[in-house]
């Protein structure tokens, strides 16, 4: 009986070893396959060195017109109030840094670790929303404020976690939020709140969850469905809890403007078209340049001017927008200036042949001097001085 037990155990262990060897072989860890080594997995390991932003001391010289602020991935950026200084958050650490193009410097402001930050939104005082996701896909949002910096260096980021499952959020400086939270029964509840998530006021409710939201500095609110190529999308002005139709189009993406009802929007249905209208009641004009509205940013001031990153090689195939969202395709963009009143577009900046960027999340400083943007291909951060 003992011998039988031992034999059974031997058979069991041998079969398990075979299974393990087969798995290792497939992964490349075995010797049987033409590919692999018995090395361990890094699945639960962390890297030996942490790639981080190169801290640049002030050179005293202004940055070049096109400045690659950092090659390491960032989660988001936003200009400081009345300044060309740019706050940004590292994707790997959640640390907040400050770039100053006037002296070509990058300074680390905070040292509190928030790993794997997928999205960061800034208020003009440097307050930041750091958004991440758990392994189960639950979205978390930390609302942080930077305590007074000292000469000693970075300081902790103080703040609080907002409710989980925030599906969309918009920041209105200083420190006001409009966010949509998924409700347990499906749908979303939209509230305004302060930076701590308190003083919530309901402003929106929907049985749908896939929305984008805007809360502009003039107080106007917009919601728009998340777009899909060729599928009708709707955008609305949110007024007193009611939705007022703004625009609808297949593959709709919008860019509302603060201080006016002018609008830039794009439609993606077998090709991308960009439109502008000077007010809600005017007929939209189609620009000769073709790009997504989310690659544009309104210039401050009275004139209805925007800057748009336009793919230098036009993606004409159906489904480009969704492929772009999935990170399956990237473009090499050039900057154009579009005049919505005149319905015209003129080239602003074309990178040299050795430089390529696929613009996402552009932002502009309050004086209209610099555009900051992320390169969707690698999440690097760039700044472009608008005047040569």
């Amino acid at each position: 009986m003992v011998l039988g037990g031992l034999l059974g155990w031997y058979v069991f262990v041998r079969s398990q070893v075979r299974t393990t060897q087969a798995n290792d072989s497939a992964r490349g860890f075995g010797t049987a396959a033409s590919f692999g080594s018995p090395a361990g997995s890094t699945y639960t390991n962390s890297a030996g060195s942490v790639p981080s932003t190169d801290i640049q001391s002030a050179s005293g010289n202004p940055a070049p017109r096109l400045w690659k602020v950092t090659a390491t991935p960032v989660a988001g950026a936003g200009f400081a109030a009345s300044s060309t200084q740019l706050y940004f958050a590292e994707r790997s650490s959640g640390n907040v840094l400050l770039a100053d193009p006037s002296v070509s410097s990058v300074t680390r402001l905070t040292n509190t670790l928030f790993p794997k930050v997928y999205d960061a939104l800034f208020a003009s005082d440097g307050s930041v929303l750091l958004r991440s996701a758990t392994d189960a896909g639950i979205v978390t949002t930390y609302a942080g404020t930077i305590s007074t910096t000292t000469a000693e260096g970075p300081v902790p980021l103080a703040g609080t976690y907002l409710p989980q499952h925030i599906k969309a959020v918009s920041v209105r400086s200083p420190q006001q939020l409009f966010f949509l939270v998924a409700t347990p029964t499906g749908g979303t509840a939209g509230v305004t709140a302060n930076w701590k998530g308190a003083s919530q006021k309901p402003v929106f409710a929907s049985t749908l969850q896939q929305w984008r939201v805007w809360w502009l500095s003039d107080g106007r609110m917009y919601v728009a469905q998340q777009p899909s190529d060729g599928i009708m999308g709707y955008a609305f002005t949110l007024k007193g809890g009611a939705l007022q139709s703004l625009v609808s189009a297949p593959g709709l993406s919008i860019l509302p403007r603060t201080g006016s009802t002018a609008l830039i929007y794009s439609s993606s249905a077998g090709g991308v078209n960009l439109f502008g209208q000077t007010s809600a009641s005017t007929t939209p004009v189609r620009f000769t340049v073709r790009t997504l509205a989310e690659k544009c940013v309104w210039a401050p001031g009275k004139d209805l001017v925007a800057y748009c990153a336009v793919p230098q090689v036009l993606p004409t195939r159906a489904g480009y927008m969704e492929e772009w969202y999935r990170g399956a395709t990237h473009t090499s963009d050039a900057w154009w200036k579009v005049d919505v009143s005149a319905g015209t577009a003129q080239s602003l900046f074309t990178p040299d042949s050795g430089t390529s960027f696929d613009v996402e999340r552009p932002a502009i400083d309050g004086n209209g001097s610099y555009i900051a943007f992320m390169n969707a291909a690698d999440k690097s951060l760039w700044m472009l001085r608008i005047t040569p």
Binding site: T19, A22, N23, S25, A26, R27, G28, A33, S34, F35, G36, S37, P38, A39, S41, T42, Y43, N45, S46, A47, S49, V50, P51, A71, T72, P73, R91, S92, P115, K116, Y118, D119, S132, A133, D135, A136, G137, V139, G186, S206, T207, L208, Q209, Q210, Q225, Q226, P227, S228, G233, Y234, S245, S248, E322, Y325, R326, G327, A328, A377, D378, K379
Partner: protein
Amino acid sequence: MKRLALAVVVIVCAVAPAYLPAQARAQFSIPGAESVLSISFSPQYPAPQSTVRLTLQSSLYDLGSSSVTWTVNGQEVAQGDAVTFIDVKTGSLGSKTEVQADITSAGGTAFATATVVPTSIDLLWESDSYVPPFYNGRALPSAGSRVHLVALTHFVRPDGGEIPANQIVFTWTRDSEVLGNLSGRGKSSITVDGPTLFGTETIVVEAASVDGSIAGQALLRIPDTEPRLMLYEDHPLFGVLYHQALGVTTFVPKNEMSFIAIPYFASAVSSGDTGLQYEWQVNQSSVTTNAAYSNEITVNAASSTGLMALINLSLTHVSNYFLSAAGSWSVTFNKSSAGSSGGDVFHQ
């Protein structure tokens, strides 16, 4: 003869209330009088600032030999023999356009009137299929997923008041079948099963104010979408690199990498949904994964005799037999890369 003609005039005096198809409404209830002279709309529910064609119809008069005069808001806009239709531009929401058609024929004279008040319905929808956090696009329905719909009505009375959804009766139809239990007063939102595999679902919502004076309709076709398997690097520091989907052939400047499969539009609550079954193969050999992270594998090439890993992945579901997706990626590693994490894709 004169008496007869006068009687006909009275009988065919027709009023088509609101944007409903103009129907000849008889002033006296004589059977059959409703169809004597009527005005039909095309489209049936005109939108604001659009063109609607109004067509005169009669089962009694020979309109082809009748003289017809069309009047829009008191202004004569068309006149002549056999002018049986006109095109009218609608106004904004809540505007009212009064139309009258007068006919003179050998059988006598008659008129019909209609009132056009444009309406619109925005029919919004989304699916509950899986997309990863922070995905900017819409979730599309695949077999087994559900679809949420919302009808946003824009019904404005000529006096300027918008009719709220709770004062509107919604009738939902899916593929010509009325969804009785989902229809009713104030039922502007519904959730239905998504389209079947390779199918297209046609959803129609008809909405009418409680008093029936204003109505509209919207139609939607929702096609089935195949789930799309995408492969990304799951970076130990940066997380999933959703912005860098692996192409069919990819070179990675390191000798080890963790991959994560993302099943866009699959009927699942997460990419690690326990109902999803991932079957991995690397260079034709099956790989068993951690049950808790079955959509992830790590491949190491540090001491391999080859540099290329052919990764095949198929996705099925334990109970949803319609869910099926597959992908294949050829990944070439940089064997000379020092250490397991030394070669960082972001340091060029």
